[in-house]
Symmetry: C2
């Protein structure tokens, strides 16, 4: 194969087939993908969760991950947030002509490792190569499906007054890392993306605590935007204690230099868990027993004070409204 | 909303939500999509077919269709080729900052109409907006799932010696139309894309004729490339009669001007059906009763002459090998 991706590799002809067998099957292959039919044949039953996400992150490699692993984590997490066991994912690659083959190989290899680690199979895919300039390096879509084990299914409209609001760890790591890498900023202390597959931890959580009301990953728009969506859907008020929200000192530092708020920065390996207050300690215990939830903590409570709003009780005891992100804080963050 | 797509619309914040509710839900809305959860919850059972495709067609509007309808047809057809009833699709939009909002609206509306016509629901989606220059106008990924009703499932490796090879209509219409529109060519007679959802016809076919061995849509690489894949997977020889392959005179004319072979041009509303010779007439009868199969005909037979090869018996009685497309004949055709 050439050391750069050529238009030929997206033709559907012989060159495409070489790329698929020599590279995609090498790292992603399994019984179903190897068949190379137009569609995969899967066995599934019951209630199915299905989610899709396109990844356009810039840069495509960043501390803690790359577009290949991120594309697995993002979709696996969205499926798992429904209280489901992610089983299968598809991948659709759009590649710019001229991308170094070594970069593509590194991305596909990383996708394969992330999928194995998450316990999902890549069962079917599609590769398009577009002429130089028609896309920036590489975009990846993944779509995932899984079997729902939680009953009732956690949902953004299921938060109730009295519920505890927990997060599984520190906020803002992914967003600040991607921005810092893109802009070539050298922060004092190194930050890295939290990109990770949360499904094993989430499955444990919903198996042991069917009382969970809401599970959500605060990706684009961050914690503040995601909580705003939940309070609006559920018509409750979220009261947060500022000092209890975990943010790494190096992320705080980077944000203050750049004028960013970590509560609006994307996370790719964290989740919000909302459940009746009496189960909060049990949930934290389960979360903290997993390396991906070791910094889990309770950050607030759902009340009936200002339905549809998120209120932050600041360090000094004041209250301020935490609005929804209006426009774009950071494009191409995932 | 602005008359152009702004970066803000991909932020995950308030501007994103306006775009989703005012535009996407308006044309694609249904019970499941309206919930706006991170993943859709679906009821499915048994053997499931799943397929994914990214669409990067240039131009985004062409005679007979656009990227919105094409994105539905392409995926619905891939699912249906497994002998499945397509049920649900996801859509992932990657939009270039500055795309006229009217273009986006026309595309989403067209996607909605195509989905309704095909009888599938768009159950979940994702929208990314990338800065100007990071992608060319708009790319759409769709992933579809459906319930398999054919037993055994049609498969590319199931062709047998003695099988008849049928096509559902004329070859090359889509490829020539897209190329002609992109290059601003004005052919003598107007050609238009055959982009269409074949699932209703295919479901009828596999219900009445469970004996079907292979169903495939000859998209990228065209009839010749798809038949090469099948003969290699099934280890049989496909002997085609050149004069029996339906090609519109205007497509023949356009191809001869441009030096293209219609047997290698993409189709988006046609399928190849391979089944035991004794069922060929019945299959043609079913196909011809449907407007999408009215030009269906038998074009050849599977033999044991040259396993893995496609042989064309020319108009003059000569035989020539029809190889697989090597590289890229036409980029961004779908």
């Amino acid at each position: 194969m050439s050391d750069k991706v050529l238009l030929d590799y997206g033709s559907g002809g012989r060159a495409s087939q070489r790329l698929i067998s020599d590279l995609f099957l090498k790292y992603l292959g399994n019984d179903e993908l190897d068949r190379l039919n137009d569609a995969a044949v899967l066995n599934l039953s019951g209630r199915i969760a299905m989610s899709t996400d396109s990844f356009t992150v810039d840069p495509i490699f960043f501390p803690g991950g790359d577009i290949g692993s991120l594309a697995v984590h993002g979709t696996v997490n969205d499926v798992a947030m429904m209280g489901a066991v992610p089983r299968y994912i598809t991948c659709g690659y759009i590649i710019e002509e001229g991308l170094p083959m070594a970069d593509l190989e590194r991305i596909v290899q990383s996708m394969g490792e992330a999928a194995r680690h998450a316990g999902v199979k890549v069962v079917t895919g599609d590769t398009k190569v577009v002429p130089k300039g028609a896309c920036d390096k590489i975009f990846i879509n993944t779509t995932g499906i899984g079997e729902i084990i939680a009953d009732p299914t956690p949902s953004g409209d299921a938060a109730r007054v009295g519920d505890a609001v927990l997060v599984s760890g520190t906020m803002g790591d992914h967003g600040l890392t991607v921005l810092g890498t893109r802009e070539g900023l050298d922060f004092e202390a190194k930050v890295q993306s939290d990109s990770a597959a949360l499904n094993h931890l989430l499955v444990k959580l919903v198996r042991e605590l069917p009382e969970v009301h809401v599970l959500r990953d605060p990706t684009r728009g961050g914690l503040a935007t995601t909580l705003n969506e939940i309070t609006k859907s559920s018509n409750v008020c979220c009261e947060l204690t500022e000092t209890s929200i975990p943010v790494r000192p190096e992320v705080k530092g980077g944000c203050s230099i750049l004028g960013l708020d970590p509560l609006y920065l994307a996370n790719e390996g964290k989740f919000i868990c909302i459940l009746p207050g009496e189960y909060a300690d049990k949930a934290l215990e389960i979360m903290r027993a997993d390396p991906l939830g070791q910094d889990a903590c309770r950050i607030g409570t759902m009340t009936d004070a200002n339905p549809g709003k998120v209120v932050l009780v600041t360090q000094l005891g004041g209250k301020r409204l935490l609005g929804m992100l209006e426009g774009e804080q950071l494009p191409r963050i995932c």
